[in-house]
């Protein structure tokens, strides 16, 4: 079987030992690296990689979980749409348990709302065809890995003339967030573990401005243990050169079997046709200029916010929660007084505990003993 679908080769122990030894040799001074992808968050925790790191090397989890950075008001908007009698609300499963101000999609479904979990957005087209007298609303959450699949679905709906499908556009884009993180004056970050699957779409070139202008080392990394360890080695080598002043930061690709400099140009063209960049609010972080997508003029009629008059209640911030500081790389989940007490995956307070890919949820499940 090909190594491309058989992951054992990327989990081999002798190679892992060699990479860990290299990491220990390189990390002679304190260094903090941040991943910005929920799949990395889970992989680092699940494979116990944090416990293999030298004392001075911190692996931080940035705002890499799209569910976690979706503002409360947008959760409330999804819930309000689900309550409309003519609406079938369709969503990825990750959104179901996220608490809004007073309910969740899971609770609404239990109370009788027509909420359906989809494996992929194309299923919404079939539901729309089968229910011509209902409005099918898709909760459009995701980074650049996911947004092209929704762009393709909407383009197909336009071509078919589907009149009853719309999308709540809550999309976020990664490079603008990295630039914000890298620009914090008190930043404690030395390098980015860039998201592998987002990069299959946008290409490694998307990080070149942040590497160049912020002198921030960036390595695009895969998701198997050896990928992540090798990515850390590459970052440490860059960090050392940047600290010594012998080189400027650059973008390197460890995940070469999937990521090119240019990325997926067909997907980029589709994104540019269906969406246009907009300012977007990231929960617990704030508004980041140019970090979201709204529908372009040609596709504006697919915006569920315009098509349905959705009214939402006032939202209130959660007190005591430090998810914002965690996602900015300033604190770890274990620094939060609510962690594992008042705030658990069963009864989450903050967004990073809500999704299984959130930093707090991953820490709770895998890292508590070693932290």
């Amino acid at each position: 079987m090909s190594t491309l679908i058989e992951s054992a080769a990327f989990r081999s122990e002798p190679e892992a030992r060699a990479l860990v030894a290299r990491i220990h040799a390189l990390a002679t001074e304190p260094v903090s690296l941040m991943e910005v992808c929920g799949t990395h968050t889970v992989a680092i925790s699940r494979f116990g990689l944090r416990s293999l790191m030298p004392d001075g090397l911190k692996l931080l989890s940035g705002p890499g979980c799209p569910v976690c950075v979706t503002p409360l008001a947008e959760i409330d908007r999804s819930i309000a749409a689900a309550r409309m009698p003519d609406v079938i609300l369709t969503t990825f499963g990750d959104m179901m348990r996220v608490p809004g101000s007073e309910s969740s999609l899971e609770r609404e479904k239990a109370d009788g709302a027509d909420v359906r979990i989809l494996y992929g957005p194309l299923e919404a087209l079939e539901i729309a065809a089968a229910n011509p007298d209902r409005e099918i609303v898709f909760v459009g959450v995701g980074f650049e890995t996911t947004s092209p699949t929704i762009a393709a679905t909407v383009a197909e709906a336009k071509q078919r003339g589907t009149p009853n499908l719309s999308v709540l556009p809550f999309f976020k884009t990664v490079p603008a967030a990295l630039d914000l993180l890298a620009s914090i004056p008190t930043r404690a970050l030395d390098g980015f573990i860039c998201p592998g699957h987002v990069s299959t779409i946008i290409g490694s070139k998307a990080y070149e401005p942040v590497a160049r202008e912020r002198n921030m080392p960036c390595v695009v990394v895969g998701f198997e243990p050896l990928d992540i360890l090798a990515g850390i080695v590459m970052l440490l080598e860059q960090v050392e050169a940047v600290r010594r002043g012998t080189a400027r930061a650059s973008v390197e690709v460890q995940y070469r079997r999937a990521v090119t400099r240019e990325g997926n140009e067909a997907a980029q063209r589709l994104l540019a046709d269906v969406f246009e960049p907009c300012d977007a609010e990231w929960r617990e972080i704030g508004t980041i200029a140019g970090s979201g997508y709204e529908f372009s003029e040609r596709y504006r009629s697919f915006d569920a916010r315009e098509r349905l008059a959705i009214e939402i209640p006032e939202t209130a911030a959660v007190s005591g929660c430090i998810c914002g500081e965690i996602m900015l790389g300033l604190k770890l989940p274990t620094d939060c007084s609510l962690f594992a007490g008042r705030c658990t995956p069963r009864d989450p307070v903050g967004p990073c505990m809500v999704s299984t890919e959130g930093a707090c949820a991953a820490f709770y499940k895998y890292d508590r003993q070693v932290s």
């Binding site: 060699a18 990479l19 299959t200 999937a258």
Partner: protein
């Protein structure tokens, strides 16, 4: 949420492909990788192939890992 799973294209019909995930097969849409062909390995996310995978690059990466492991082994020898 950005989880993507690698699989091999075993059949293409228009923009729909049948993908083999090491024994389990499932359909996926090829709109985002229009030049993908049968026997190509692709990453699947939310019902769509999002990128083709490069077997040669995978072998190169693994070779690099093996060399590093060998170098460590050699260092340990007296």
């Amino acid at each position: 949420m950005c989880l993507a799973v690698p699989g091999r294209i075993i059949e293409i019909d228009g923009t729909t492909a049948r993908i083999d995930f090491g024994g389990v097969t499932r359909e996926a849409n090829l709109t985002l990788v229009p030049d993908a062909a049968v026997d190509d390995y692709v990453l699947i996310h939310a019902g769509f192939a999002i990128q083709r995978l490069d077997e040669q690059e995978a072998q190169e990466t693994l070779k690099l890992f093996r060399e590093l492991a060998q170098a460590l082994e050699d260092e340990k020898r007296p």
